[in-house]
Symmetry: C2
Subunit: 370 residues, 2 copies
């Protein structure tokens, strides 16, 4: 295997990878735990769920950060949703989700045979979810003599990077006495998201999406009243599968030691995202899709100008990623020019200015746009 040097050699715009970049402190700890079964030094059982003496403080710190009473580790967010759904719902139960939900929410629900009512977004150009539509959905379902057993809100969706105010959905959830799950995969870890302050019941988080954790780890955070209802398979006498294992958990714990620094820069990350959107739109033929102003670093652009250029190229849409890679920019999905999806997270304004100027060059040289 070749060593991976992509983060060192390129400016990486890949929106999936932005929040997962590790800091040296995290890598150092994880590397020291790299041996197989390194988490079993004390013979005190595997490295998950029940916090162990050596990690109790960090486990407490994570619960405090998230405003949860217990957090169950899983391989990822989809497995965290499966864990919740199979613990509190049964085949045929109805849930209300937002129309910007990740497909893994639907996959997790389909595993349990749940019925899904999906709230539409506002369509072009904002594609926003209106919290009030949760109430409208509940009332509409009531007319059909149906009551949802769970509301699911994607706090920030992975497509547009739109942020929904979770507190407003919480008020509706409380009014109708329906538990609420926040999918915070793209938010908690970039910034502080506190379940207790928001007043919802459950939160799912992603270490590799937003906490800068190596490998893959998700978590299901719950409030006290739900702790005993979560059917954790690892607590079985003879578990047939295990949730997240020690190396990913070590990484999550290790990342907590630098999380304060990480969340402190969130306001500037959002400012930077808006600054970059303004610059890119000034080129012409490139336009933000999703809410404006942005409240997050995930950015989707409509890019008709690039699509036009692609028509003139032998490589068609593949010209774009190829041209960018030549000048040190990666992370665009090869072949796509109709829209591009990027993240500005963790990049400097100087790097982003270089990206902007590269796009100016691409467009001007081709005599399209400005």
């Amino acid at each position: 295997m070749n060593l991976r040097t992509l983060q060192e050699d390129y400016i990486d715009l890949n929106p999936l990878q932005a929040g997962g970049r590790t800091v040296a402190e995290t890598r150092l700890v994880v590397n020291s735990y790299a041996d197989g079964y390194a988490g079993y030094d004390q013979y005190s059982g595997p490295f998950f769920q029940i916090p162990r003496k050596e990690t109790a403080l960090l486990h407490k710190q994570l619960n405090e950060f998230l405003g949860t009473d217990e957090i169950f580790f899983t391989h990822g967010v989809r497995e965290a949703k499966v864990l919740l759904f199979q613990s509190i719902l049964k085949d045929g139960d109805l849930i209300v989700i937002d129309g910007n939900a990740h497909f893994s929410t639907i996959a997790a629900a389909s595993k349990l045979g749940l019925e899904i009512f999906s709230i539409k977004n506002s369509g072009s150009p904002d594609y926003k979810i209106d919290p009030r539509d949760y109430e409208a959905a509940i009332l509409q379902l009531k007319k059909e003599h149906k009551k949802p057993k769970l509301l699911v809100l994607t706090q920030v969706d992975g497509n547009y990077g739109n942020l929904v105010d979770a507190r407003k959905v919480t008020l509706i959830a409380k009014k109708y006495n329906i538990p609420l799950l926040l999918n915070s995969a793209y938010l908690a870890g970039r910034t502080r998201v506190n379940l207790a302050e928001i007043g919802a019941d459950f939160i799912v988080i992603s270490g590799h999406k937003s906490f800068g954790v190596p490998g893959h780890i998700g978590g299901l955070g719950v409030t006290q009243k739900w702790v005993d209802k979560i059917q954790d398979p690892s607590k079985e006498d003879k578990p047939w599968d295990l949730p997240a294992r020690y190396l990913a958990i070590v990484g999550l714990y290790a990342s907590l030691e630098t999380t304060d620094k990480r969340v402190a820069r969130w306001d500037d990350e959002v400012k930077k995202a808006n600054w970059f959107v303004e610059k890119m739109e000034s080129i012409g033929g490139i336009r933000l899709v999703g809410e404006r102003p942005k409240q997050h670093d995930l950015i989707l652009f409509d890019t008709p100008v690039l699509e036009k250029i692609a028509l003139t190229k032998r490589k068609k849409g593949y010209f774009l990623a190829d041209e960018l890679k030549k000048v040190g920019i990666v992370g665009l999905r090869p072949g796509q020019t109709q829209q591009i999806r990027i993240s500005t997270y963790g990049l400097t304004r100087e790097q982003l200015d270089y990206v902007y100027k590269t796009f100016v060059g691409l467009v001007k040289e081709e005599k399209y746009g400005i």
Copy 2:
């Protein structure tokens, strides 16, 4: 989190950890892939199952090593068994397993509601599994008008470290036309185990148990006729959970580059285990449990002499692990003195001689034994 320096600071006898120790080459590659989602650089889908261009050669190399036609990655061996069972068996089906099987075999079977017929081992002092008992089991079940749908053989068990000749079980499996699964968690990777040469149908392997891979990864290897029967959840259009993820897979692929060196020393590892058994038994009051001579590095000793000493101690059984730790030896289960379970894998004769002399000192000083 503190850095883990246990492998640098101590002689580690922990039998779980012996085969999972990583070499520098593996760590270097894995560290370079440490960022969350680092496996998604090419936007070519996740880093499992279907081999990708950049890892196709290593995937082929792994299949050649194991004599398999395809290998499906999972989080661990138990999940690999679940994957196989749910792919080819159904609720109520009967399987025959050996009495030294790991509890996760039983857990995996119980998940599917399988009926289990367990072959007894030979009891004290060898606790061996006789391959001929598979035929006896099949004939006995036939009298009850039952036919097993699968035979499962633990090639090396984790309790005694006994090795069973898989070829002999294969002959029986073929005679009665019943597929055979080899649980090779403790063998393949330490040495070459080749499914095609053995003639069985399935093999499960463990990266962290025997290939020196960081984190956790298991694999289900199958022959060509079974490839399409494996119901890989990651191949669903909307998978609700994913098998082993990229960091563990990178580790397994990386480890293959040093596997030749690793397996080349296996004969000496076995010799060393027998040499150590002889030394330890010469102390008196310490006696090997399991087959003799040993064919593996996992060693279980009856240690009545240590149990006697423990009775005189304030800390009771905990004295042993405590005393050993003071002189730089770790890996014994704290509190246990009736039996001790260790591995000699990867330790030098000089280190093992030091361990032996330490036990001599413990026993002599206490005026027990010799």
